[in-house]
């Protein structure tokens, strides 16, 4: 089932949680709502579920306005960050709950419920836990039970609020993969909220990036990662280096140095002296040894961390860009070949660079 939200606004006192948000969620997709805490993503999810109501705007389920449909009638499945399992009920009773509270006319017989619950428990691979209580399960198991419980009522959409947020890193990774597989099996329209960019990029078909109640960018994980549309998205997705500077003759001056892209000077159309911030990912920076030359930005290596295949090099800016810190990713081979050492003065030249005018600076 498709979900559409139109011009949603939501205010909590003087805090604007959602500011005129409009989004389309096509049928069968798994979409991630990604953003820092307080960006409005959870509020949006709760408004779609009907647990919260918008100040204005509408929610359309399958093209029909559901803004005034009670959460009970919306037929959504909701998975909470802290599971919200009924603690006094066994796993079996938890999953059966949605079926047992149906009006008498629609309620399946106890035998049918039994069969269905066991099917669902098999789906989440926890059939052997049917008689346990939630407190006896691990976090990952609890969240899988919560998912089985949500699926029991055959929801038209599945909404997950930071479903892996309370789990430790290893379990979280496992569950991510598992959720993706489950979605590929069921093809139920799903939205999940997360503040973990890796999780969003790894699991979702599409990613919606939100900040301060606005949608910043929508796209496939590949799109949003490779072509961030705004400084916020750039900064939020993955590690990134910022160069703060000013526009000067179509170039960017950082301290006393001019920023280059590769061997070329930048040709920007910006007002003279406008404050800008340029972004480059750690693997998009090259290190040229020596202070000499005037390519790129001068910096000093402060630390070299070489654990795995890649080495991370941390640098401090000099020449007027002091106070800025940079991070470069190279292979260990490159580090050895170039003979890089801590304390060494170098120059940084980005191979890819994205420049944004800085607002409000």
């Amino acid at each position: 089932m498709s979900i559409e939200v139109r011009n949603i606004r939501k205010q909590f006192g003087s805090f604007t949680a959602l500011d005129d948000v409009s989004l389309d969620f096509p049928t069968g997709e798994l979409v991630a709502l990604l953003g820092p805490s307080g960006c409005g993503k959870t509020t949006l999810l709760r408004i779609i579920a009907g647990l919260e109501s918008a100040d204005s705007g509408s929610v359309l389920l399958e093209g029909e306005d559901a803004s005034h449909t009670h959460v009970r009638e919306r037929q959504v499945g909701f998975v909470f960050q802290h599971y919200a399992l009924f603690r006094h009920m066994s796993v079996f009773d938890n999953v059966a709950f949605g079926l047992r509270v149906k009006p008498r006319k629609e309620r399946p017989s106890e035998a049918v419920i039994r069969k269905k619950v066991h099917e669902l428990l098999e789906l989440v691979q926890l059939d052997w836990l049917a008689d346990r209580f939630p407190a006896q399960l691990s976090g990952g198991q609890r969240q899988r039970i919560a998912l089985a419980r949500a699926l029991a009522v055959e929801p038209r959409v599945l909404l997950l609020d930071e479903p892996f947020g309370a789990l430790d890193a290893k379990v979280r990774k496992e569950l991510r993969r598992w959720l993706r597989r489950l979605h590929d099996e069921l093809h139920i329209t799903s939205i999940f909220v997360t503040h973990d960019q890796e999780e969003a990029l790894e699991v979702a078909d599409r990613v919606v990036l939100m900040d301060h109640g606005h949608v910043e960018q929508i796209g496939t994980p590949e799109e949003v990662y490779r072509h961030p549309a705004t400084p916020f998205v750039y900064g939020f997705l993955g590690a990134v280096n910022h160069f703060h500077g000013r526009a000067e003759d179509g170039q960017v001056r950082v301290g006393e140095d001019l920023l280059h892209r590769g061997q070329d000077a930048l040709a920007l159309t910006l007002d003279q002296g406008a404050p800008v911030v340029a972004f480059a990912r750690p693997h998009e920076l090259d290190i040229l040894p020596g202070e000499a030359g005037n390519l790129g930005v001068a910096a000093k290596i402060s630390r070299i961390l070489a654990f795995g295949v890649t080495a991370r090099i941390e640098l401090d800016g000099v020449n007027g860009s002091s106070g800025q810190h940079f991070e470069v990713e190279l292979t260990r081979e490159q580090v050895e070949r170039q003979g890089l050492a801590e304390g060494q003065p170098v120059r940084l030249v980005p191979s890819r660079l994205k420049v944004f005018e800085q607002k409000g600076a």
């Binding site: 909701f78 399992l85 009924f86 509270v101 006896q136």
Partner: protein, 297 residues
């Protein structure tokens, strides 16, 4: 009161841990002193009076004891006490749950005020509580003339006693449930509603099972107070023998008439009811701890 919720889920072995660690272990004389002090206090102020009640009650033999209890005025007092408790309990059960629910699960204007007001019956002197009802429903009170016209008696009659008791015992259930319900949040209820449960189903299958032990605990305390209340009831009762005397009032009357054996006999029944209440309370605590342990095993 606020500590009651924690008592309910207390698991026990803290003390032995406390003692086995050198950091927190006290010198033997300190331990002896504190232990001696508290036990002496316990014996003098708690155990001795309890024993005295039963000793005095039985001083003139079992027969006198028995006669003091089956005498019509005493029976009527026992009956009135039980009736009062039987009305006050369900009333405060319903209102207590409603108030706790409102405070723990909704945001509304005046919530802080309501939270404070719930404690009023604890902070105000019971005599004042009784007086309030005399001022409202008494012959010279606000509704006095109207009530007299319609031949309805509230003060110096059973309704007044019930009202005063309800007032005095109101906080027990609510105070017990508020911290419990606040700690549990509303996610489980939300989950139930998303799954299609209606309001009643949510309350019956999700909310109530989560608060049942706390609720029972509050009800037991409420009951103990309802049967034992003296001050507020004394003001509104009018002390009419055989009609508006509850057990505590009856004890006072007998005592003032120098009928000590009878006074202590009735008092012993009250004490016995209190002991039964304590036993049930302990059982509830034990049961709650067991339920908790079973779930967490």
């Amino acid at each position: 009161m606020a500590g009651a919720a924690t008592t309910l889920h207390w698991h026990g072995d803290h003390a032995s841990k406390y003692e086995s660690r050198s950091a927190t272990r006290e010198a033997p004389w300190v331990k002896g002193l504190i232990l001696g002090l508290s036990l002496t206090f316990f014996a003098v102020f708690l155990l001795l009076p309890l024993v005295a009640v039963f000793v005095e009650a039985l001083r003139k033999g079992l027969e006198t004891y028995w006669l003091a209890l089956v005498e019509p005025d005493a029976l009527s007092a026992i009956k009135l006490t039980l009736i009062t408790a039987a009305i006050a309990l369900p009333v405060n059960l319903v209102f207590g749950v409603a108030a706790a629910w409102a405070i723990a699960k909704f945001e509304f204007r005046g919530k802080q005020l309501l939270t404070t007001l719930i404690d009023l019956p604890f902070s105000v002197s019971p005599v004042v509580a009784g007086l309030i009802y005399v001022l409202i429903f008494g012959a010279q009170g606000w509704f006095g003339p109207w009530l007299a016209e319609h031949d309805i008696r509230i003060v110096f009659a059973v309704p007044g006693i019930v009202l005063a008791t309800v007032f005095v015992t109101f906080p027990f259930v609510a105070r017990e449930l508020i911290p419990l319900m606040q700690a549990q949040g509303k996610e489980e209820e939300e989950a139930a509603v998303v799954l299609g449960a209606n309001g009643w189903q949510t309350f019956w299958h999700v909310t109530l099972p989560n608060i049942k032990w706390g609720l029972l605990y509050g009800v037991i305390l409420c009951n103990a107070r309802a049967m034992g209340e003296f001050g507020a009831v004394s003001v509104v009762s009018g002390h009419i023998r055989g009609q508006t005397n509850t057990m505590p009032l009856h004890v006072e009357i007998l005592y003032n008439e120098y009928n000590f054996a009878a006074a202590f006999a009735v008092a012993s029944v009250l004490a016995l009811l209190a002991l039964v209440t304590l036993v049930i309370k302990t059982w509830v605590e034990w049961k709650a701890a067991q339920a908790q342990a079973a779930i967490e095993k």
